[in-house]
Structures are given as C-alpha cells and as structure tokens.
Subunit: 358 residues, 2 copies
DNA sequence: TTGTAGGCGTTATCAA
DNA sequence: TTGATAACGCCTACAA
C-alpha cells in the first residue's frame, strides 16, 4: 500500500489481539515449508496440471512431511462444494435398502463424494428432519427411497436447488426422477402368473400401506390384474402387517380358520412373509402348491433353497443404488436430465406355485 | 473507531473488488432482519439461555421467515467441531454390520451427530483410505469393526486425538476399547456343547481368516476347547470360504466325498454356511443330527424356522452399535474411559445338534 | 506458471 | 445481555 502514513492496523502492536489457534497443521504450513504460496498448494490438490512438476513434487513432499491433508470444512466453505451426497432410506434392517446404499456409496466414492445416510423409520416427519439436516450439511445431491413423502420435502429440495432422485420405485408419470422398478407392474405379473395357473381366489399378505407408495402400487397391480379377469380380493383376504416370518404364519392361520371360501393362491409382500406362510402351511398340513400356491418378493438367497422352493421376484437393488448415484453425478456434471431409469423385477418361478387343482 | 481521519478501507469505493456471493441466506441476513448482531443470532442456536426471551423470539421469527438454518461447514470451521462421527465396517451386505450401523446411528442422532459410513470390503488398504477421508472430514470420534487393522490406522487416530472404539470383537488384553463379544469364547462354547454331546470328530467351515481377527479368534476358540479334551481338527476338515449357502454346500460335499474318517459334527462360521450344509445334507441323504450335528452363528430369523431348526448363537448387534456410540459420546464428554463393553453371544440349542451316535 | 488478497458462513473473544 | 470483529482453513479471481 503506497500510503505514506501508517494505517491504524499497522500502528497496532504486531501481536494480534486474540488468536484462537487450533494447533493443527494447515495449508499455509505446507506452503511455508515448500517455499510456495498457499494458492500453489491448493492447486496441487485441485488443479494439478496447472502446477509444474518440480513444484508439485516439492509441495507433496512437504505435505507428507507435515502429515497434512486438506480440511473438508474449510474446503467446503471456500469452494461452496461440500462433496457430500445424502440418501434417505426407511431402515438399514432390510437387505433391500442396505444393498442400495452399498451400491450408491461405491459409485459416489469413485468420484470422491461422501454419502451420508438418513433413516426415516417409515415416518414422514423423520424424513423431513433428515432432509433439513442434510441441507444444513450442504449436500450436493440427494436420493430418497419412494415418492410417498410430504410435498414439503420435495419443495425444500427444489428450493435449495439440490438435484435428487427417487429410488426403488419407478412409475410412469411420476413428478420425480425415478430409479427403480415398477412395483405395480411387478405385482401384476405375479398375479397374472397365478391366474395363468388357473387360480381364481386370492389372498394377499403385505406390509403396511400407510405412507408407502411401493406397497400401495403393489396392491394396485394385483387388483388391476384381477380386474382384467373379472376377479377381486375379498377384504378379509387382504392382510397388512410387519414384514416378518411371524406375520406370515399368523396370516395363514387366520385365513385358514376363517369361514368362507379359502383362497387357492396367496401373494406375499416379500420373502420373509412368504417363509412364514410356508412354515405354517407345513404345520397345518396344507400341501404347497397343490392346496395353496404362495409367492414372495426379493428372491433372498434362501428362497431357492427352502422346500418347497419359493416362487418370487428378483430386483437388483445394488444396481439401483449405482444407477441412482450415476444419475445424480450426471446432474452435477450438468448433463441432460433423463427422466429416470427403470430396472426390471424378474419372476423366478419355483415350486411354491402350481396349477389350481380345485 | 475514534480516529478523525478516514481509514484506507473507508476511503475505497464501497463496491469491493471481488465479491463472490453465493446467493444463499446466511446468518447475517437473519441478524439484519431481527435487528440484532450476528453474535446474538449465533447464541440463540448455541447458548439460548444467554439470550433474553424477547430477542430470542425475534431471531427465531426472522430465521423462520427467511427459511434459514446454520451452515454446517461454516459452523465446523469456526467452532472446530464437525458434529460428525465415522464408522468403518467391512460391508453393508451383511446384516450383522448393517444393524450395528443402525443402532449406532440412532444413538448419535439423538446427540445431533451425523454418522458417516465407510466400507472397507475386508481390505486393510481401503480401511486406511477411509480413515484418512474421515480425518479430513474432521470426525470427532470413530468406530471400526474388528481390530485386525494396520498399526498405521490406529496410529493416525491417536495422532489426531480422535477417540475410537473397536466393535463386534471383544478381547481381554486388547490395546483398544472394544465393544462386542468374545469370538473365541463363543466358539469355545459351541465346541463344548458338541463335545458334551459326545462328539469327537469335527469339521469347520468358516469365512476367510485373512485380515480377520474375529474369524481367527473363532478358530482359536474351537481349537482350545478341543485341546482341553485331547482333540483336534484335521487339516482337511478345516475349510475357508465365502459366507454363502453355496460354500456350505460345497464344503459338505467335499468332506463327505473325501477319504478318511467322516466328522460327526460340523461347525460353521455363520448361519448362511450352515443353511448350505443342511440343504446339501438333505440332498445327500445325511440324517441331521443323527449322522451329523451342525451349528451356525448369528441366529438369523429363519434359523429357528427351517427343518431341522439350526443350533446357533445370537448376538445383539444393534445393541453393540448403540453401546459403541455411547462409549464414544462419553469420551467426547470427557468422562472416564472405560476399557470397553462386553456383550454376550447366547447359544440357541435346536434340532441340528444331537448326541453322537457313533 | 506462480503469487496476492479477499471472501466463504459461523463462532468466540472481548468490550460495552 | 448484547455488539463489534477477528479468527477458523481453504479457494479463486486477478495480477504479475
């Protein structure tokens, strides 16, 4: 500064008034040791090509010697890029979601983005809290399982211009970018499979429909397929409950004990429930599939091992996670926004379903 | 400032040279709208008691009106607290680890700490990379599954004074704070159970021992129990492989086909492997447990449902996650460092084990 | 290719 | 109880 008089600042003693000093090694220490400016050190890690080989080497050497690495908070603040993405799932206690996380995390990690997880426990209110927390963390992109969430949630994402994707569910005409499979079509396919075997009387044991678009779509798929053939599920044969073996057992018992016509086919919301049904059938002496055909969903590893082997559907959930990450990375790269990506659920016909012998 | 002359700063035109301006709502906007200083706004969210009720209300109102919430990066930088904890697990594709994450995440969330996950895929090199990434993120605490990691990994944690805990494995005399169960004792107990049933010839089908202290401890537990009774596992009866149904099947086939004495008891590294063994036994016409006793580990939901029901051990993995989080929170609160916390694996004796009929 | 310096959004120190 | 202001660690527009 060319001014001939001291500025007030310069007039003060060189010891600054209050220095917090965290004691950790920072970028400027590396710059000093390497004999370069802080800008150069930064470039070595962010735009390596713009630095000459010799200088780069000197800096890397200094960083190694001081055991320094860039601080993420400082980086995020200065660059307004957090290198964080978020994923909100109902729970980790279901393999179906855990593997989506797994696939997504790997894909993001390859691009140096940290995936932060939020579990909503199937509660819309918790989902909103999680989204807010992620926005506070400055997530650059978000994924969320399913689309049955408060409008407020998606509004917040749009307000802050965070690209997002809905996973696991895929629906034509959805407002959102979906990466998943068509739950409705999948259950319509299961239903058609059974109808094709001659079944006319159906029961359904499925997860709670509340706040769950996937489950609602599945039931809609069953109903639409039945309708096409002039059929329907009787109210007392549509049971909702937790996705456990125990629920499956209770379902079959109550269906078998109730008065009125017994179904010849039972569609389950997933393999766990179906396992329960098969086990209970064994104890009640119900022949599978001759007396009752049973279907699951997810194709867990044991599905093809149990006796009778379970007819079910397989979805590549890890692939869904990977594709969702890719979709979001493309969005971050400013690429054209595809509407989404549909993967397909594959029917695995095994021993638990057979012709209706009525 | 009481100086009578303009400082150089004030002399400059009011338009600063380069203003980046991210366009987002920031704390100072709230301060302006509420008619208070930035310090006061900060206090409202960090030390609410130090702010009068009226002012607090005005600030909260302004924040709501502007839809503002604190930016995590700025917060982390200024406070040198990231509100982030890290957890490194081998993989999410194993329920045993996923539920630890689940329990830990819930416990941390209650204290407003975000849990960041890292998957090592059972690779020590990846584990180190993950730890470095977490240190860069400024994790305040860390957990990691098992203690078979490069010394360098723990050294880094200590160098940066990050409190950490080892989960899933608990070992007397460990250098680290462990929250888990004693793998060695658990498998010794399984072995004693079988010895008590009269078995003298054992086979073991277990996960790869490489870089895996839990598996190594399990084998050590088996050996020590056998030794106490003057017994041992023959090398050709100790098989290592992936934890899948397929591996279990291959194991039994190869053991049954090989020459020499057949074992009367088969100890598996987990329930998946055991399921495979049971299935293959069914196909080979081997009577369980009369011809062969089989044990698993984990007590998956289906373990008690399959026929014969599987003798196995149950560990509350979600509880391990919760306890580990609590341990780390205590450390952050400066509480006395307990050495760790042992939970116990519980033997579930069912139909797949029985007296040796040789 | 390298350096200078201001700013990213918040908290913490000190003074009022 | 409240306000003014200097950090926190890094990035980046601009100048050299």
């Amino acid at each position: 500064m060319p001014d001939s008089f001291d500025t007030p600042d310069a007039a003060r003693p060189p010891i600054s008034r209050s220095r917090r000093n965290t004691g950790r090694t920072v970028l400027s220490d590396v710059a000093k040791l390497a004999g370069v400016s802080t800008a150069t050190v930064s470039r070595v890690y962010n735009e390596p090509d713009k630095v000459s080989a010799t200088v780069r080497e000197r800096v890397e050497h200094a960083a190694l010697a001081l055991n320094w690495f860039p601080n993420a908070a400082g980086r995020a603040l200065a660059s307004t890029r957090s290198h964080i993405a978020g994923f909100i799932i109902p729970t980790l206690d279901d393999q179906v979601f855990a593997s989506q996380v797994s696939g997504m995390q790997a894909a993001f990690a390859a691009r140096d983005i940290t995936l932060v997880l939020g579990c909503s426990n199937y509660d819309p209110a918790q989902a909103i809290v999680q989204v807010r927390a992620m926005l506070a963390r400055g997530v650059e992109a978000m994924a969320i399982v399913g689309e049955a969430h408060p409008a407020e949630l998606f509004a917040a994402l749009q307000l802050y211009r965070v690209p997002y994707a809905v996973t696991y569910a895929y629906r034509e005409g959805s407002q959102h970018h979906c990466i998943g499979f068509d739950n409705r079509a999948a259950y319509a396919e299961i239903t058609e499979h059974l109808i094709g075997l001659g079944h006319r009387s159906f029961a359904v044991c499925i997860q709670p429909t509340r706040d769950n678009d996937r489950v609602q779509a599945r039931i809609a798929g069953i109903r639409s397929a039945l309708e096409r053939h002039g059929l329907a599920v009787r109210p007392e044969h549509l049971l909702e409950g937790e996705s456990t073996i125990g629920f499956g057992r209770r379902c079959l018992r109550s269906i078998w004990q109730s008065l009125g016509e017994r179904p010849s086919a039972l569609i389950c919301g997933n393999d766990h429930i179906a396992f329960g049904v098969l086990r209970e059938a064994e104890e009640l002496g119900i022949e599978i599939p001759d007396e009752l055909s049973v279907t699951g969903f997810d194709d867990l590893a044991i599905a093809k091992e149990i006796r009778p082997a379970l007819t079910t559907m397989r979805v590549d959930t890890a692939e869904i996670g990977r594709l969702a990450a890719q979709h979001l990375l493309d969005a971050l790269d400013g690429k054209r926004p595809q509407h989404g990506h549909e993967v397909h659920a594959l029917l695995q016909v095994r021993q638990s379903t057979g012709p209706c012998l009525r």
